[in-house]
Amino acid sequence: MKAPLHTTGEVLSSKRVGAYQHLTVVAPGVAERFRPGTFVAVSVDGTRLARRALWIHGVRAVGGHGPALQLVVEPVGPGTRWLAERPVGARLELTGPLGRAFALPKEPVATLLVGEGYAAAPLFPLAERLRERGCQVNLLLAAPDERHLLSALEARRSARAVTVVTADGSVGRRGSVADVVAGVLAQAAAEVVYAAGPVPTLHAVAAVAEQAGAWSQTAVEQPLTCGTGLCHGCPLPVVGEDGVARVVRACTEGPVVRGDRVRWAELAGTRPGAGGPA
């Protein structure tokens, strides 16, 4: 994998869609290195040292600028609100792309992509890569409500079948990923499952995939401070390839890890719904 870059980007556009702010940022070299599942660490205003980790939703060519990053921000704290308020032309100090990307299957197999909330962002460019390889793409998108459902319209373009669930039933079926994932997986006859979302959702998907004999990859979000592997602030309990239990860094050994390698129960225990620096 190509090394990440530490650079200054520029906001080319900033658009509110539902609960999320979609930023298009040109950062020379970063977009060229992007693979689905990687992220960028962005600095926010002066006295805040922790960086904000943002998923890369896609890369698109912007006239006169070359490829630009599409980033998704949920403005829920001082840092993410600051990011959401950056005007066009603002400079952003960022490092990326960081972390391990989703691994792509060697054969053109049927796949299921499960995403919840803004974390579904990396699944869209992943869907593109999978289709390029002849893989059948099925998408299961979830959110608490319609405002938090990411890019549902785009989803129709990038997947063969799309299932939408919301907790309040405002769009799609009422329910959660855990309620429907087994049925969707069986219907898609997926051999590979990719998931991105909160820990309980990932846990549910990994468990169902394992029962079905499917191979799963999960993009695990842990509270990140640096995103670059230096601070040890994002412990991720796993079982290594060698069968030995250890704690790795979610940012560097992850964020994408095999679903059957994560010690989900411990993860849930150590992080009762806590987010990172917001």
Binding site: L49, R51, L230, C231, G233, R246
Partner: protein
């Protein structure tokens, strides 16, 4: 002391394995690289959340996760040495005996320029590490490490308690430390009350005062300053206060290129 081509050193516990910074070209021109504090056996580290943000600072209680000495010697140290870096190995432990054992084995490993004894872990007890509360505890550890370190210089990173830092520096140098590292994390607490350390620009004025206290009391002792340094001007303030070198730590978590940038600025000549 070790001969440094540049006074900017990567601080313990903030430079990862070195590979993360190297991938960003962020080790270029630095004077030395300090490893995270190593213990004899692998450590998983403490529970999450481990780090909280506070204005101009980070509150942290990681519990010193690390690979243990054997894996470090087999996989991490050879790579660092191969990069041509001046490697300072930081060490910690649950007992004086563990410190001595780690030092003994490090002294046999090729390529290490110095050892740094981490006597400033503000949440040591919470993580089962030796709680170095009193200067004489620090002196005991340093004496044991110096005995095992053979020809390697031993740097002692002492608690940055303004009132006692000079006393700590005196006893650890009496015990054989070649230099003192002054101005590490301040004892603090995470939002949920767990013991932790506070680092970052918030602690810089305290660290600078600590350097001044040690220089005034012990003019002959080399002092390496650290604590909140994130610009070349910060580094110069410590050097002007009499530090022979500076360590850059927390700033790397915000901007991984900080140490390389400051090193280049300082190499560019006096401002």
């Amino acid at each position: 002391m070790i001969d440094l081509p540049n006074p900017v050193v990567v601080a313990a516990g903030c430079g990862g394995t070195g590979r993360e910074l190297a991938a960003l070209g962020a080790l270029e021109g630095i004077g030395a690289f300090t490893t995270r504090s190593l213990t004899l056996n692998p450590r998983a580290g403490g529970p999450a959340p481990r780090i909280a943000e506070t204005p101009s600072g980070l509150v942290h209680s990681t519990g010193l996760p690390g690979p243990g000495l054997e894996i470090f010697l087999a996989t991490e140290l050879p790579w660092l040495v191969q990069q041509g870096l001046r490697v300072v190995v930081s060490l910690s432990g649950a007992s004086v005996a563990e410190h001595a054992e780690v030092a003994r084995r490090l002294a046999q490993a090729p390529g290490i320029r110095a050892l740094e004894v981490d006597l400033a872990v503000p949440d040591a007890r919470a993580h089962g590490l030796l709680d170095v509360r009193e200067p004489f505890h620090a002196a005991n550890v340093v004496a044991a490490v110096v005995r095992e370190a053979q020809d390697l210089p031993v740097l002692a990173k002492v608690r940055s308690d303004v009132l006692r830092v000079a006393e700590s520096a005196r006893v650890v140098t009496d015990a054989g430390a070649s230099a003192v590292v002054v101005g590490g994390p301040q004892a603090a607490a995470l939002p949920d009350g767990r013991p932790a350390g506070l680092s970052g620009p918030a602690v810089l004025p305290l660290a600078l005062r600590c350097v001044g206290e040690v220089r005034a009391a012990l003019p002959g002792v080399p002092v390496i300053g650290c604590g909140g340094i994130s610009t070349a001007a910060d580094a110069r303030a410590f050097l002007d206060a009499g530090a022979v070198a500076v360590q850059v730590g927390t700033a790397l978590l915000h901007d991984p290129t900080t140490a390389a940038r400051i090193a280049a600025d300082l190499a560019g000549g006096p401002s």
